[in-house]
Amino acid sequence: MRASKADLPQGTLDLLILRVVAPGPVHGYAIAQRIRQVSRDVLQVQQGSLYPALHRLERRGWLMAEWRSSDTGRDAKFYRLTVKGRAQLKVETASWDQLATAITAILHHPDGAAS
């Protein structure tokens, strides 16, 4: 698992977390799993950076955490988006799309950047 297929670009972990959490409450382990699965194992979340990121987002008020019982029968910490977090997700998604479109446009333009 250590052999990562693609490292996350700087600053995108927050966006991914927000996106993964958006549908409904989910715990940390599931967030990491989901990112990996949805990206078809391409994106690999460094386990060491996931939790600090979660705590950071919680502290910023984008995520809210609560303890509830889980499939293992024990309580797990579930994160969900706050209203602020949902707004933030929109903003960040938009700016990522913009960035991605721009980068794609440049990469696939026949004359490259020279146009």
Binding site: Y51, P52, R59, T72
Partner: protein
């Protein structure tokens, strides 16, 4: 930090734990599902997640609670560490607390006396104004009534000017004996300028302070309570003040005693003869408040201009008279700059330095012993900053505990000193450990601890972990630390010698006073002051008759064993006269002055002092044809050495201005007195304030006949209240005579010795503390060296060194700093002696005997301090130490 926040932090920590644990479990399950054995799955899960602790740290970093939590943990570690090294902690705290306590005590006293000043609103704008006579050697004097009147009318920039004059006032009212109390005539504005409100009643209005106004008086609370039992109906009633019926209009609250320790006030206009005062009778003090919107300099410049105009208008009285202003209160305390008291804070700082050096030595020694611990901590990932912080927190903890103890010590010390000086300091003075002092104390403590704790912390944090571990804690920085501790100890010892040297000189000086006082035993003796009613003292005969009656009544009273009249009490000042000795002509301006005391025939008998030669006065002495005198032993030594004093003739000329200006006025009918024949020689009774022995001439009271006299009375063993007996007796002799100041002679003795006693006890205290601290420091350093070199000792002994040789090894090492310390210390002590010269009595500034004794004492203490750990080193079991690593 509130408890709640700490609890929340603890909850968060638990949650973090649970969250990560949950993640780990899920990883394990996944791996198990993938076919790994449970143990392998767990290992793999741990690998996936990485090290848990750094992960937690990262989460905490995000939360921002890490810092507070770390500090809290460091505090707990520090407490545990200090508890483990109980002796180290106790000695370090005690050292620092003693040094700080002494400093805080001295600074609080100095602050209260010189700097805190008069409390209240904008007290810095309150000035005391007098004048300075630029001619006549720049003498400082007061303000005359006409000048004050002109100033008040024309000077601008002041909220007001209020003149005052201290005067003893006599109160009498039905059924109670006449009482004499310190009072003051004050301008009506005084209370407004001071913001002083009465407890009950009212203060003076301008209408009260007008010539011909109905007489009024304001009393202090203590006077109101003691004499009138706090009767609220006293307001509006009339009492007799100086023979005038005056209405009590108010009582000032406790703690008000303007300008010094006054107990009653009358309007300035009621001051007898005020209106007749000329421009050159400068006896008033002036209280002024500078207006809030005017600078002090501007206000004073304006006043100086007014004074200049007066000097032009009245050149014959006001030429050269300038304005002199100080902050109110400073005219009573003087300034610190010109007082030998300045030495006290200097010495206190020395003690504090010694204490700090001690703490530094102790911390260095302890840190050397902890190199291994620090190396381990560094190797498991503690950053340098963490180590420094932890050591600093430990030092701060020591400092805080020490400042707590120091505050308690200082409070006790200040209380003791304040108690000794009660009744000798002005009313506004608050001799306590002030808030400023406390803040400074804690600050200094923390600064000292951090500075002295930081050096070892830094040197330790530089520790190369692997090397320190390899060396088993005997790092190569150890010799460097040892060098530093040796320097600290040298400095300590030098400062200790300086302090002990000063203490020795002052103690000898105080002992000299004490020795001189042994001539008179004041126990059982009561003193009082008797004043004749002014109306019945027109002629010498009347005065003589009064004194005769008083003397007879005292002799006849069954409750009094012995009593005498005297113009001056033992231990206190007596006015000087110019002395001529028959057959020794001297020009008048070089003739010496001698204190002269007029005494009754029973003076020496009452004091239980026997004459060395000749006789004392009989009742006939002092009458025309019987002009006689008794001189003291010192007089004979100074003026008639090797001669027979009895029968020699001396003459005492017109009274010279009494020193300190407070002696009872002695009326002198003839400018040049008659020739007196010496009939007796008395032992030398100390007279002036703490001065060495001075020549004194005693003359019969009949030849002086002053308006007032002092009494010294010894009651019979079964007399319970000699004071009360005196009151009825004096009232019987003359109901209008004023009896006041009834107090034990021991009070006079005590008060006259306050200054040398203060100096001697302070320096003694400093010296003893310094000695103890230095001994502890030296002990700690030697003990540290012993610990550090245990292995070496083991090797030496294994190779055949005898225990005695080991002891000598450590003694030599420990005593190394002693030589340096002694040399510098002795130089310093001699320097200090010169500084102390002005307060020394019968003691020379360089006292070799004291210095040698001190050096011996110090060497002895140091030897002991080194010997104990050295002995322990010699008891080392070589086999055990070599096996140790």
């Amino acid at each position: 930090m509130t408890r709640l926040r700490w609890r929340r932090a603890r909850d968060r920590e638990r949650e973090l734990d649970a969250e990560l644990q949950d993640h780990l479990e899920r990883l394990v399950r996944e791996h198990v599902r993938a076919g790994l054995s449970p143990a392998a799955a767990r290992r793999a899960a741990h690998l996936d997640l990485g090290a848990i602790e750094p992960l937690k740290e990262a989460c905490r970093d995000v939360r921002g609670t890490r810092w507070a939590r770390d500090v809290w943990r460091d505090v707990r570690i520090a407490v545990r560490g200090l508890m483990r090294d109980r002796w180290f902690a106790a000695v370090a705290i005690a050292s620092l607390a003693l040094g700080l306590g002494v400093a805080a005590m001295v600074f609080s006293i100095i602050d209260a006396y010189y700097f805190r000043g008069v409390p209240g609103r904008h007290a810095e704008q309150l000035l005391f104004i007098g004048t300075r006579d630029a001619q006549g050697r720049g003498r400082d004097t007061g303000v005359s009534w006409p000048d004050y009147d002109d100033w008040r009318r024309t000077a601008r920039g002041f909220d007001g000017l209020a003149a005052f004059s201290n005067a003893a006032m006599t109160i009498g009212d039905r059924g109670l004996a006449l009482d004499r109390r310190p009072g003051a005539y004050v301008a009506a504005d005084t209370f407004r300028l001071l913001d002083a409100m009465p407890l009950i009643g009212r203060v003076f209005t301008p209408d009260d302070d007008r010539p011909g106004a109905p007489p009024v008086v304001i009393l202090s609370q203590p006077l109101w309570t003691s004499r009138y039992l706090a009767d609220p109906h006293l307001i509006g009633r009339a009492i007799q003040v100086d023979g005038v019926s005056a209405t009590v209009i108010g009582v000032m609250p406790n703690g008000f005693g303007f300008p010094f320790l006054q107990e009653m006030w009358r309007p300035l206009a009621a001051m007898p003869s005020l209106a007749m005062e000329s421009r050159d009778t400068r006896s008033l003090g002036v209280l002024a408040r500078v207006r809030a919107d005017v600078s002090r300099a501007d206000a004073l410049a304006n006043l100086a201009r007014v004074a200049g105009q007066l000097a032009t208008r009245f050149p014959e009285t006001n030429a050269g008279i300038g304005v002199r202003a100080v902050r109110f209160g400073q005219q009573q305390t003087g300034t610190l700059g010109d007082s030998p008291v300045l030495l006290l804070p200097v010495m206190a700082v020395l003690v504090l330095l010694i204490a700090c050096a001690n703490v530094a030595s102790l911390l260095l020694g302890r840190s050397a012993g902890r190199m291994r611990e620090m190396a381990i901590r560094a190797s498991i990932g503690a950053t340098r900053w963490r180590l420094v912080r932890q050591l600093s927190i430990e030092s701060l903890l020591l400092a805080l505990v020490a400042s707590g103890v120091a505050l308690a010590l200082a409070a006790v010390g200040v209380h003791v000193v304040a108690d000794a000086f009660r009744g000798n300091v002005p009313y506004w003075m608050d001799v306590t450990v002030g808030r400023r002092g406390m803040a400074a104390l804690v600050l200094i403590a923390c600064a000292a601890a951090v500075v002295f704790g930081l050096a070892p912390a830094l040197s330790l944090s530089k520790t190369d972990a692997s090397r320190a571990l390899a060396e088993g804690g005997r790092s190569s920085t150890a010799p460097q630390i040892a060098r530093w501790t040796h320097r600290f100890v040298s400095v300590q010892l030098a400062l200790t010698i300086v302090l002990l040297g000063g203490a020795g000189l002052l103690a000898r000086s105080f002992l000299a006073v004490y020795e001189a006082d042994r001539v008179v035993d004041p126990s059982g003796l009561l003193t009082a002051s008797v004043e004749m009613p002014a109306s019945r003292t027109a002629t010498r005969d009347e005065r003589a008759a009064f004194y005769d009656r008083l003397g007879q009544a005292l002799a006849a009273d069954p409750s009094i064993a012995a009593a005498t009249l005297t113009s001056a009490l033992p231990f206190l000042d007596a006015p000087d006269r110019r002395l001529s000795i028959l057959g020794r002509p001297l020009p008048s301006d070089t003739r010496p002055t001698v204190p002269t005391i007029a005494i009754g025939p029973t003076y020496f008998e009452t004091l239980r002092v026997s004459l060395l030669r000749g006789r004392t006065f009989a009742s006939a002495d002092g009458q025309p044809g019987m002009e006689t005198a008794v001189v003291n032993q010192r007089f004979v030594e100074v003026y008639l050495p090797g001669e027979d004093a009895i029968g020699r003739q001396i003459r005492l000329d017109a009274e010279v201005r009494a020193r300190r200006g407070q002696a009872a006025p002695i009326e002198n009918d003839q400018a040049a007195g008659p020739w007196l024949t010496i009939v007796g020689v008395a032992p030398t009774i100390r007279q002036a304030m703490a001065a060495g022995p001075r020549p004194v001439v005693y003359v019969p009271y009949r030849s002086e006949l002053a308006l007032s006299t002092r009494l010294v009375v010894r009651g019979r063993a079964n007399t319970r209240d000699v004071g009360m007996a005196l009151r009825t007796l004096v009232a019987r002799v003359d109901p209008s005579a004023i009896l006041s100041d009834i107090k034990p002679l021991a009070d006079a003795q005590r008060n006259s010795r306050l200054q040398p006693q203060l100096f001697a006890s302070m320096f003694g205290l400093f010296g003893v503390i310094a000695l103890a601290l230095s001994a502890i420091g030296l002990y700690a350093v030697t003990a540290y060296a012993v610990t550090r070199r245990t292995r070496e000792v083991g090797v030496r002994m294994a190779l055949g060194a005898r225990p005695a040789q080991v002891v000598i090894l450590f003694l030599r090492q420990g005593l190394g700093p002693l030589g340096t310390g002694l040399a510098f210390g002795l130089i310093g002590a001699i320097g200090l002696g010169r500084l102390l010269e002005s307060v020394l009595i019968r003691t020379s500034a360089v006292d070799p005997v004291t210095l040698v004794l001190l050096a011996v004492l110090l060497v002895g203490v140091c030897l002991t301090a080194c010997f104990i750990p050295a002995l322990r080193a010699s008891a080392v079991d070589p086999a055990a130490t070599l096996r140790h690593d």
